[in-house]
Symmetry: C2
Subunit: 211 residues, 2 copies
């Protein structure tokens, strides 16, 4: 029997401007950034606590995934605190209630974080990259019209290697359809066609890797 507090952290990931981003919060008066979090109450489970964070942003909590627990004895000097970290993949359009103190950050450009939030994010990012190898999860990031170059950039970041543009297209073609529309803001270069994912369920790894 121990007396402690249990923190629940939520890593909210999305794709914005061709980059994988995470939602962070700057608390008033603090110089560092924070992950959205909540203290577990005696009458709730970790999952329901994480769900309440989702509710705050009006996000569906049905794809919540537990990442890791952080329990080093001294991670909080004042009192024994154990943290459980969750992640959620969303598309950026589903982010409501997105107030001024919240901001999306490129996962490769995380600002100075409070306490050990930086390592919690690092762990969650590793977890995210595994999940994104499953096409069913990747779909969450691209619910509406997307172009092949956009999709490829995310995959290249996940796999951490460059992929041939033409071979990449061939791999994904069986799972998408053209909308007929084209990209609007090319800033030079040929406009890209817009695609959407088909509804088929796909439990297949398109790239033969395990991470």
């Amino acid at each position: 029997m121990i007396e402690c507090q249990i923190e629940v952290f939520l890593n909210i990931f999305t794709v914005d401007d061709d980059k994988i981003k995470i939602l962070l919060l700057k608390k008033e008066g603090s110089s560092t950034w924070h992950l959205p979090s909540r203290l577990l109450k005696i009458d709730e489970s970790l999952e329901s606590s994480a769900t309440k964070i989702c509710n705050k942003f009006q996000l569906k909590a049905d794809m919540l995934k537990e990442c890791h627990t952080f329990s080093e004895v001294n991670r909080n000097k004042e009192r024994r605190t154990i943290a459980v970290s969750y992640m959620l993949m969303i598309n950026k359009y589903s982010l409501k209630n997105y107030e001024f103190e919240y901001q999306l950050f490129d996962i490769n450009n995380i600002p100075k974080m409070a306490f050990d939030h930086g390592s919690i994010i690092a762990q969650a990012v590793a977890c995210l990259k595994k999940e994104l190898l499953n096409l069913n999860n990747l779909k969450v990031f691209f619910p509406a019209d997307f172009t092949f170059p956009e999709l490829q950039k995310v995959y290249e970041e996940v796999l951490n290697e460059n992929i041939d543009r033409r071979n990449f297209r061939k791999k994904f073609l069986p799972f998408v359809y053209e909308t007929g529309e084209k990209n609007e803001l090319p800033s030079g270069g040929r406009p890209a066609k817009l695609y959407r994912f088909l509804d088929k369920d796909l439990e297949r790894n398109l790239f033969n890797v395990i991470k």
Copy 2:
């Protein structure tokens, strides 16, 4: 700030008699089986607590993997109890201190378990199967001489499908070498050659699946 107890569970998996097995404990006077476990103390982390369970069996704790937390409010009626589940893959020869009240069970034939230990095992087994797709993890189960039929049986259970014997062999041949010895107890049929894994590191998925 809540007062609760935190349980650490350890799912110890091994391969024995061509089956994936888990180490369970029957406590004196109890009619049900238990997972090896430990209550978290105020001055230790979850990892170090799980390591202490490993020590009891003289098992190296360097491959401990966190599986899941179980935090339903009523999972223990008497007091608020949160469980964190770990898993460890070992080869059966490394199991010392293996006393009479402990027993290995086929993961497809789990006995009647105490409390929610059954669902903790189910979750850990799912976790294990993912891990075994990584050949580096599979090696732990087959440290010494093994035959192709033995290896294949484990893979068929993980993938939950039958694999062609000859194609399976071709896939794994680049990663093993013959010892020159042959299987001793064939009970009829041609004796199988014995193999060992090469030392190469392999972060590749030999079967194109995500689970």
